[in-house]
């Protein structure tokens, strides 16, 4: 399957983004950016399923 990746984006320096940047774990972003957009969505979907399962677990008595 051909890789359909998002194009390279050049953003001008932005003070708001720079302030937010220091509070963001950019290692996670770098790992995510290694994936294709489709793989990122699949990962999000899996994450949402996992969250749903965890919610169910919290409601179940031990």
């Amino acid at each position: 399957m051909p890789r359909r990746d998002a194009p390279t984006v050049a953003l001008p320096p932005d003070p708001v983004i720079e302030v937010y940047k220091k509070d963001i774990d950019r290692t996670l972003l770098r790992e995510t950016l290694k994936l294709t957009p489709g793989q990122r969505l699949a990962k999000l979907q899996e994450f949402m399923k996992a969250v749903s399962n965890l919610r169910g677990a919290a409601r179940r008595p031990v």
Partner: protein
């Protein structure tokens, strides 16, 4: 009904029905690389009659209903409802979806179209808003605050400190980062007394020499510089 939103099902349903739509919001952020969760799919849809009909038929099997509304309301998912309304926040058997006829900062489908890219998602090709436009939309929605206000303006009449916010400012958006007319960057903090807020100055981040550049830090491309 899923406890979570099935993004794959939504994308396939809309794509297979030939609906003209643009992915925006958190899922668009994920497509661009953001490492954060989102609980619904936000799409901007074209408002022409053909697309309204396609969208109605596509979602019909998913039993759309107004999200957060009490059960039993006489809500009918048909083309008349879609034509009379504009933006819908819906719950369905596939999860939550927001249908936006118009989006703040982006306008209508046709307005947004030049600021989109084609991406392959769940095996089909669909349109997604570009990263710069996504940031602009987030700004317009107030999710990424930026303001233009005079340095001497205030948030409340009882607060007279220099650097306070204007009466028109989003004072209750505490902890947001804002930029004033004079270029000063600060974070909105709640006053100890009352509902007002004030701006706590932050060092100019663009002047930091030790900050390793490499990505934009907002779910963006690693090559942002």
């Amino acid at each position: 009904m899923n406890d979570y939103t099935d993004f794959s099902q939504f994308v396939h349903v809309l794509h297979d029905a030939g609906v003209q739509f643009i992915i925006v919001g958190g899922v668009a952020g994920t497509i661009h690389g953001a490492a954060r969760a989102t609980y619904d799919l936000d799409v901007v849809y074209a408002r022409d009659p053909v697309n309204l009909e396609r969208l109605t038929l596509a979602l019909q099997p998913l039993e759309p209903y107004l999200r957060g509304a009490p059960k039993g309301l006489p809500f009918r998912w048909d083309i008349d409802t879609l034509a009379r309304g504009l933006n819908f926040t819906l719950t369905t058997t596939a999860g939550a979806i927001d249908l936006l006829g118009e989006i703040t900062g982006g306008g209508w489908y046709e307005d947004l179209l030049p600021d989109t890219i084609e991406v392959e998602a769940f095996g089909v090709t669909c349109r997604c808003v570009t990263l710069p436009k996504l940031i602009a939309l987030k700004r317009a929605a107030g999710d990424l605050a930026i303001s233009t206000r005079s340095p001497s303006s205030k948030c409340s009449s009882t607060n007279s400190r220099a650097g306070d916010l204007s009466p028109h400012a989003p004072c209750r958006r505490f902890n947001r980062v804002v930029v004033r007319d004079d270029g000063a960057v600060g974070r909105v903090e709640r006053d100890h007394h009352g509902d007002g807020g004030h701006l706590v100055a932050l060092p100019d981040p663009l002047r930091r020499e030790d900050d390793a550049r490499g990505d934009c830090g907002f779910g963006g491309d690693d090559r942002c510089r």
